[in-house]
Every structure is written in C-alpha cells, then in structure tokens.
C-alpha cells in the first residue's frame, strides 16, 4: 500500500475516528484505524464494536492499493502536528508503515487488516431521508434528558419512532422526559428503536446542521446514518421504551402562561437557597400568581412572586430546579406554557406557539 494525502483532507476524518475509539479496549486492534486503499479511494474505518464510522476520501495519488490497520491516536497526533497544507506519504514496508512528510519520517507498527473485527449488522428494513439540520436539532433538544448511566438500559439513549410522515424522538432519565415530533414527508414506514447514548452524541457531532439530507437505515439491531462521505452505524439498545400514555392521558388544569426570561431568572435566584442535594423548589399557583419558594436544612428561605396568566384552582407542586431550568432553557419564544395535572403528578412545559418540542417534569415530594 502506498499513497499520498493532503494534511487538510485527512486530519478532520481522523479526529472523527479518534472520538469513536474507546480508550480502554480489551483488544489492541480496536485502538487501530483500518485504512483501505483502492479505486482512487481511501476508506478509513474505526469501531468500538458498539458504533462504527466509515469515511471515504477521494485520492488521486494512490500508487499501490492495499489494506492495513494502525494506531489511530498516533496517526492523528502525527498528522495534526505536521505543517498546514503539507502532503503526507503513507508507504507500507513489510509490517511497518513509513509515514513521511518533508523531512519528517515515522515508522509505525501495524496489525493486519484481516484481523480488524467485523461489525455485524442485519439487512436494513426501513430507510428514510431527513434534513440533517432537523435531525440535529431534534437530537440536541432531547438528548439532555437521557439518563447519564441508568441501570434501566432503555433510558440510556433516545427512542426514535417513524410513523409514515412523523418522526418522533423521546428521551428520559426517569425524572423528566423530552419529546420532539416533526413531519418529514410521507415515508410509508413504521419503525421504533432505541439509539444508545454514545451514538446520539456522535450523530449530533457528525451532522453539521446543513440543509443536506441524511439517510437513515434501520435494521433489526442496527442504525446506519449516511451523510456526505460518512457512514455511521450503531448497535441498538435491545430494550423497549416504556409506554407513558398513562401520564399524558389524565386530567389537567388550565395552562399557565409565563414570561420565559422572568421564570428562568426567578428559578435561578430561588434555587440558591435550595437543598444542595435535591434542589427542590415549590411552585404555588393561584389565579394570576406563581410563588416560587424554597428552604434548606440550614433553615434559610427564599421566595419570589411572579405575575402569570392563569385562571383556575390553586395548586402546589415542587420540582428539582435543575430539571425546570433545563426545560425552560430549551424552549424557543418569549413565553412558556406550563400545564399541571389536576392531581399534581406531572407538569408539561412547552413553547406557546406550535413548537416541535415539549417537556415533562416529574414533581418532587418535599
């Protein structure tokens, strides 16, 4: 194998590759990147056996075709430190790669390409296109609700549902939940999967928010995203996301409309004196008024009154201030609409206009 590539062409892809690689791999070859050189193309592959990324580069300077694997971190570090715009030569000599540019020469150890693990996936059953920009927005505004590391596996990811023209993303850590719904044009398809956390984060990095389409292919146990010159694949979470209709389908009080900026600032100011561990703040709601208050074990107290648009029965409910702030921060527009269940068992938060997102925050008992 022998080829030459411009530094600017390869550094970006190598950085994407390096993000995928798990630093604590049990087997050495998973720290390596697979390089495959043929038909004027260089194909770069990395995997941690949960996700895989394949990047294809057009190269006009391939002198000898071939395949090899080498340490991804080292190649990246070398290429990054070489001068901007330089050409980098890769030349396989025996079982070593001679990597050179200008007067720099590196000899790198390799492992055979045949030893690189296969990433098994089954035949794709559902394929659809969606604007990269939309998918990225959907992922970013739900992903913060994913569990950090829950024992309930279905919470460690995002549920993705396609139902003809409707794409729905749901994320929850058990304490709050985010839903994104978007019309992507008729697909005639039905699918429901859970995309694991790492894949969600990588996908979001990969999609740079352009108007271009990303093609999503779903099979029984994998998801593939084809975007520009990249194919990203991920194993799916084998669990089923639980049904939460019971929470949505119950009796609710009239909505409370409140200025988003004012609500955010008030919660932040009151939160200062909340219990450090639980961050609990109380919401006492009555006609035209919302009182946010808290206290802590040191017996400090805080309280703030807000004028709101609400007509209905008085109700009291308490939340973790952080969850409320996260939701309010992710809503667009001037006002926030809060809707509390009649039995104070849950609160919906959404933008006032027709938003694609809504959030659900579970209360605290304090």
């Amino acid at each position: 194998m022998k080829f030459s590539v411009n530094r600017e062409q390869i550094v970006g892809p190598l950085q994407q590759i390096a993000r995928i690689i798990d630093k604590r791999q049990a087997c050495t070859i998973l720290s390596n990147v697979l390089l495959q050189c043929r038909d004027s193309k260089l194909v770069i592959t990395a995997t941690d056996l949960e996700v895989k990324i394949v990047i294809q580069l057009n190269l006009n300077d391939i002198r000898v075709e071939g395949n090899i694997t080498l340490d991804a971190r080292k190649v990246l570090d070398i290429c990054r430190l070489l001068p901007t715009g330089c050409d980098i030569n890769f030349d396989l000599e025996g079982d070593k790669i001679n990597l050179s540019s200008g007067s720099c020469i590196y000899l790198l150890n390799t492992l055979p390409a045949d030893d690189f693990p296969e990433f098994t996936h089954t035949e794709a059953e559902t394929c659809f296109n969606v604007k990269a920009e939309k998918l990225k927005d959907g992922l970013d505004k739900t992903a913060f609700c994913m569990a950090i590391n829950s024992e309930r596996n279905y919470l460690n990811g995002i549920e993705m549902t396609i139902n003809d023209s409707m794409l729905k993303l749901v994320a929850s850590d058990g304490n709050r939940l985010a839903v994104y719904k978007e019309d992507i044009g008729s697909t005639g398809l039905n699918a429901n999967i859970i995309v694991p956390k790492k894949a969600v984060q990588e996908l979001s990095c990969l999609l740079d928010g352009l108007e271009e389409d990303v093609e999503i292919r779903v099979s029984r146990n994998t998801l593939e995203a084809l975007y520009k010159n990249v194919v990203f694949s991920s194993k799916l979470v084998a669990d089923k996301f639980p049904n939460f209709d019971r929470i949505v389908n119950q009796l609710f009080l009239n909505p409370i409309i409140v200025d988003r900026g004012l609500l955010k600032d008030s919660i932040k100011r009151v939160e200062v004196l909340s219990n450090e561990k639980y961050k609990g703040v109380s919401f006492d709601i009555k006609s035209a008024s919302l009182k946010i208050s808290t206290d802590n074990p040191e017996a400090d107290e805080a309280e703030e009154d807000l004028v709101v648009d609400y007509h209905g029965d008085p109700i009291s409910i308490a939340f973790n201030a952080k969850y409320m702030l996260d939701a309010v921060n992710n809503i667009d527009g001037k006002d926030v609409k809060m809707t509390v269940a009649e039995n104070a068992s849950v609160c919906f938060i959404e933008g006032q206009s027709d938003s694609l997102f809504w959030y659900l925050v579970m209360p605290m008992r304090i």
Binding site: E151, D173, G174, F244, M362, M364
Partner: protein, 362 residues
Amino acid sequence: MAGIKKIIHIDMDAFFAAIEQRDFPEYRDKPLIVGGNPCSRGVVATCNYEARQYGIHSAMSCAKALQLCPHALFVKPRFEAYRSVSNTIRTIFAEFTPIFEPLSLDEAYLDVTDSADYQGSATRIALAIKTRIQEETGLTASAGISYNKFLAKIASDINKPDGLFVITPDQGLAFVEQLPIGKFHGIGKATEKKMHQLGVYSGNDLRKLSLTHLQQHFGKAGVYYYHIARAIDDRPVKWDRITKSVGVEITLPEDIDDGDEILTQLTALLEKAQTKLTDKNLQASTLTLKVKYFDFKQITRSRTFQEAISEKMDSTALFKDLLKSTDVGTKKVRLLGVTLSSLNDLEPESVAKQIDLFSPDN
C-alpha cells in the same frame, strides 16, 4: 511537654493462630498455620511463632508453607471467633480513651495524650491495656509507645511477642537513623529495592536525600519519607473512621472461563458487599469489578449509576456492561472482586424524593 503527643500502637501476637491455640489445646507447641487448604491455592492468614521459625509468613501461599514445614498443622480460619475477640479488645481500648483507630481486627492506634489515668503515663496505660487483654481474652499483645504513629508502630514490633517498647522524643531521631530502610512502615519490598538503588539502606541515608529529590522519585509518598526520616509524622489517630467503600473478593477454587459461572460468583459477591453496606446504613452508586486472570494480570472496571445500587436491581445487567471490556469468558480467571463506592446514607422515607416517571407506584 506541650504539643507532644502520646500514641500507643497495640498489635495482637499471631492473632488468629493464638485464638486457635487457646481454643484447641491440641494445637499448642506445634507449628500452626491459619489459612487455606495446603492442597488448594489459599494463602497463610496468620501463623504462630513456631511456624515462623521455618520461614513461613502471612500472605505466603499455603503450598509453599507446606513445603517449608511438612509437619505443620493447617486450620481453616474462623472469622466469627476472631471478630468476637476483636470486639472485646476494642471495648477495652474504649475504657482507656475514645480516640482509637482500629487498623484491622488485631491492631489499633490509641491517642492517650489527654488521658489522666496512671498520672498520664502512656507506658503504664499500655501495660494496663495489655493486662486487661490478657485477663479478658487469654491472649497476649505487644505495645509500642511513642510520640507519633510511625514510631509507635515500629516500637510495637521490637519485643514481640508480649512486648512493650518505648521510643521517647529525645530517642526518636537516633532510632530512625539506625533503622534499616525495609523496616520503615510504609516502605514495602518494591520501594525498598528502589531505595537501595538510590544508595539508601538506613534512616540515616534517607535523611541525606532532599525533599525535591524524594518527590521526584516517589511523588507524594516522597514527602512522607522525607518527614519520617526526621522522625516526624503528623498523622492524627483517626477515630470513628468514615467508610468510603466496601469490597469483597474471592480466589476461585480453580481458574474458570465459564461466563455463567463467573456471573453467579459476582452476583454472590455483590450481595455480600450490599449486606455489609446496609449494615452500616449506607448505599452506593459506583460498582467496581476486579478481575485477576490466571496469569496474575489484574484489571478493574467501574461504572457509576445515576441511581443508588439496590438489591432490586438485576445484577446480571449491572455486570454485563462492565464485563464487556474484559476478557472474561475467553481468558481463565483466578480471582474476582466487587467493590461498592460513592457512598451515601440510606435515605429515610421522610426526606425529599423525586417521583419517577416509570415507577409503577407513582
């Protein structure tokens, strides 16, 4: 003298073996080893002084011990008995001072600086403690008395068994100077070797090295070495020590690579660790798995969960993720361990509680 502390280190003599010999007269006057079966892969937990004459010491493999002394008696440890004696000893310590720090079942540091008993004489207090232990348990202990932990620990080792040794403030420095480097508490075999390479064989040699030099070679520990070479040790006696983690491990009767069997073992270990925690009214959110392969290579993998780890959780699911990045199932395993950390008090029902969306009882 103001500012000078009085520290006693009490160390029971051949603790496990002594209890066995007390309870079973037929074991007396014979080399006795408490530990694993000599035909298996266990290690020596304690051996009596007769056995030590053959070169046997704790942590040695039982097979090796058998080689050194084929007529030695091997007995299985009875931890329940040892724990009960240990509790008795701690009750005795508490009679003399509330400030005592147990290091294990059979040793402890006591700070008697402010004790008024025996006209404040630490030596007399130590003697009284030894007598009380002998009366209550029929066992002997050795005591070291000095003005810091480091010297007290060294002192207790000097006239073992049934010893008592004092290192006074004006003897401290001279004592440390002549002490071989391997005898320093906190300097193990590996560090000893490294010290020898640096030309350090005694406390005197150690004192010649600068603080920077020691830090370069030993990092943080270098600071400790610098001070103990000058007989300075400011570590307080930590009483009522706070639990930071709970761990249990098992050396398997034979190396295994059967994934299911390993999971069964891990589940049992987790249950044990969990019980220990619950006894202390604590709960954990970090689970650490330790695996020692047949070739003695050891790895640990840990995971911190957003919720506290509870008995209700499916242990198979908890371990599955941790096992993924190991060679368990393909490479034979010799030892398994489970540690629970990131501890919190078990929450009483009354305090603030976040309601869970998917919990069936909300």
